[in-house]
């Protein structure tokens, strides 16, 4: 009989035990798979979001997050200076603030002002979008889907906004016209967002004449790339801080997202140990119960290598079947856990904690294979060192 068939028969001879072993590995494997998805999920998802926005470099006056320190001064001239660099294709000053709606029961609206409506960090879904130089001087806004739904807004609707961008400023109410509904990449699930041109933003916030920006979004020259753009900006304006998307991701990976990476590393280690323990116990008990049978097979001529192979293959069957079952289980579990974590306030609706990557699949298979091998070591040693005649004698006596 071939080793594979022999190992399979050895395994299914105790169907309840085999089924429980496979189920145990499946549960452990599902958790391991999820921890692998979690370990890089935020980073991958954050990178995808940054790429979707369409700008390669972010420039601000502070090294930390925008709005945590001073703003970029002389924003118009600064953006023009950056655009003049050969490594830069476009530079768009952006300001971020907040506004109140007429209805005090409604939550605060996040306000975004962008100098260039044609290259902006949003995607227009409905309506014509922001138009430059309206003859009637009316302020136009783009609203996100949440705001459109909650206020029943469509392109052409009018609403009142009162800017609350500065603590020491109380600007008058401004009536604005909805120019479209847009998708803002970093909005959280319940956020209300409105975007307008920079001059309209300043008017709404009561900071007309304040030529500052929270950040300048830069599109690098496609031939030279974002790294060259960052270097050129740092040379031209050493007082500013420029970060490419890759640098931002690396930074967030080191600091902001490291908690989930470390939690996933701890849990992955525990689940692997748990799986190792489960398989070792199952195989050891199985081998101990079959010592007489194994000794008889050895006496009939089966080599030591052959019986060791049987144990290793049995372990491989347990882990292989359990691991395969773990994948759909793990994906379902990841969806559930992702839904739980995405309820966290301030998390962009498009950001995911658990993201599938082919490398996670390869790593999952590799780790389980290593666990299967390690778990088979002790029972394999038992059968390899089995004294044939003494075992047969003992078994015969009992």
């Amino acid at each position: 009989m071939r080793p594979l068939a022999f190992a399979w028969i050895s395994l299914v001879r105790q169907p309840a035990r085999a089924a429980l072993g496979i189920l145990g590995i499946a549960a452990v494997g599902a958790l391991l798979f999820d921890m692998l998805l979690l370990s890089r999920g935020l980073v991958v998802s954050f990178g995808e979001l940054l790429d979707e926005v369409g700008f390669d470099v972010r420039v601000s006056a502070v090294e930390s997050m925008p709005r945590t320190g001073p703003r970029v001064t002389d924003a118009t001239a600064t953006a023009a200076g950056l655009t003049a660099l050969p490594e830069v294709a476009a530079a768009v000053p952006v300001q971020i603030g907040s506004a109140e709606l007429d209805d005090p029961a409604m939550p605060e609206v996040s306000l975004v002002g962008s100098a260039d409506a044609s290259e902006s960090p949003w995607q227009v879904l409905e309506g014509p979008g922001l138009q430059a130089g309206r003859s009637d001087g009316r302020v136009q806004v783009l609203v996100n889907r949440n705001m459109a739904r909650r206020l029943a807004l469509t392109p052409g609707s009018r609403i009142g906004l009162r800017g609350t961008c500065e603590a020491d400023s109380a600007p008058p109410r401004v009536e604005v016209e909805v120019a479209g509904i847009a998708d803002f990449y970093f909005d959280d699930a319940s956020q209300l967002t409105a975007a307008m041109r920079l001059e309209a933003f300043r008017r709404t916030c009561g900071i007309e004449g304040d030529d500052t920006a929270d950040l300048i979004l830069v599109a690098a020259d496609p031939d030279l790339g974002p790294t060259a753009a960052v270097e050129a900006i740092e040379r031209a304006r050493p007082d500013l801080h420029a970060f490419s998307n890759e640098q931002l991701i690396a930074r967030f990976q080191q600091v902001e997202f490291s908690y989930f990476r470390q939690i996933s590393a701890v849990l992955a280690t525990i689940t692997l140990f748990f799986g190792f323990l489960l398989i070792t116990v199952l195989l050891t008990v199985s081998v101990n119960q079959r010592l007489g049978e194994i000794a008889a097979l050895r006496a009939l001529g089966l080599t030591r290598r052959r019986v060791v192979t049987d144990v290793v293959l049995e372990s491989a069957f347990l882990v292989g079947l359990g691991g395969a079952l773990a994948l759909p289980l793990g994906l379902g579990l990841a969806f559930w856990l992702d839904t739980i974590l995405r309820a966290m306030p301030g998390i962009p609706a498009n950001l995911h904690f658990f993201v599938f990557e082919p490398r996670a699949l390869v790593l999952h298979a590799g780790l389980l294979a290593a666990t299967a091998l390690a778990a088979a070591l002790y029972p394999a040693r038992l059968v390899a060192r089995l004294p044939i005649s003494a075992t047969l004698r003992n078994e015969g006596a009992t």
Binding site: R17, L20, A61, P70, Q289, G346
Partner: protein, 285 residues
């Protein structure tokens, strides 16, 4: 402006350019620096530092380091570098006030209020919000809020715990099935010498109880023993005094309440198939 005020006392915190000076002077205004900032800038009590609210470091003022403090552990900011300094409020206003705006010397970002009865926080917040339009009043502690980040994290950990319990239950059942199978002959013999099925079940139940209590107790002890190591690792990693793991009596009881019945159930379920069989089939070889 890089300053923020956030304390109930007449102290304020400031994040901004900080330059170490060489000549200590006790007549200078005092400030406190966070332990992290003191370590990063090699500051000690008695040093003098110059602080500016401007990003280019212009118009600095000189202060004397009067002490080093451990920032209050803030779970919302545990990944942030706590490079902070605390100034007396008049010193901060002097440093950050806009000369063209007389009101800026009378303005603060927030006022922390200690209530006689903390349970009134929600009611007082609602009343103040209604009485002073434009003022944002929030309770400092919001419990049970579904959108609270810690409620979400707790739910996530509970979900992970549930999966772990399921995996453990399967593992336990597999172990108990093997154990029961090993003892098939012993159970058969006990039945043959006259022990009733109920008597054997009682024995299995007692054994299961002992194993479950011992296992669960060991688990709680192991978690308590490793709690310190876990906390020390994350406190070192994030340079914070925050406590990440705390095994409270409630947590220990919760673990026992889940693990012991689960262990009992597994041992009884595994033995049940054995006890249902005829005695002779149990002892037959």
């Amino acid at each position: 402006m890089a300053a923020s005020i956030g304390l109930a006392t007449a102290l304020a915190s400031l994040d901004g350019p900080l330059v170490r000076a060489q000549i200590p002077d006790t007549s200078l205004p005092a400030l406190l620096v966070s332990r992290q900032l003191a370590e990063a800038e090699s500051l000690a009590v008695g040093d003098t530092v110059r602080i500016s609210a401007n990003p280019d470091g212009s118009e600095p003022r000189t202060f004397r380091v009067a002490g080093v403090y451990e920032p209050v552990a803030d779970p919302m900011r545990f990944t942030a570098q706590r490079h902070e300094a605390r100034l007396h409020l008049p010193d901060l206003l002097e440093l950050t006030a806009d000369p063209e705006d007389p009101l800026s010397r009378e303005s603060v970002t927030s006022i922390n209020v200690a209530l006689a009865d903390p349970a009134d926080a929600e009611r007082v917040s609602r009343e103040l919000s209604a009485k002073v339009p434009g003022l944002i009043v929030r309770p400092a502690v919001r419990s049970g809020d579904a959108a609270n980040v810690f409620v979400v994290i707790e739910r996530f950990h509970q979900a992970i715990a549930l999966v772990t319990v399921i995996a453990s239950a399967v593992f336990l059942l597999a172990l108990m099935v093997m154990l029961a199978d090993e003892r098939r002959g012993v159970v058969g013999t006990l039945r043959l010498i006259g022990l009733t099925r109920n008597r054997v079940i009682l024995q299995v139940f007692t054994e299961g109880l002992l194993i479950a209590v011992a296992g669960a107790g060991f688990g709680v002890l192991f978690a308590t023993a490793t709690e310190g190591a876990f906390n020390r690792f994350f406190q070192w990693r994030y340079d914070t005094a925050l406590v990440f793991v705390r095994i409270t009596p409630r947590v220990a009881l919760q673990a026992l309440a889940i693990a012991v019945p689960l262990g009992l159930l597994a041992s009884v379920a595994a033995s049940w198939t054995l006890l249902r069989r005829e005695v002779l089939t149990l002892v037959r070889r």
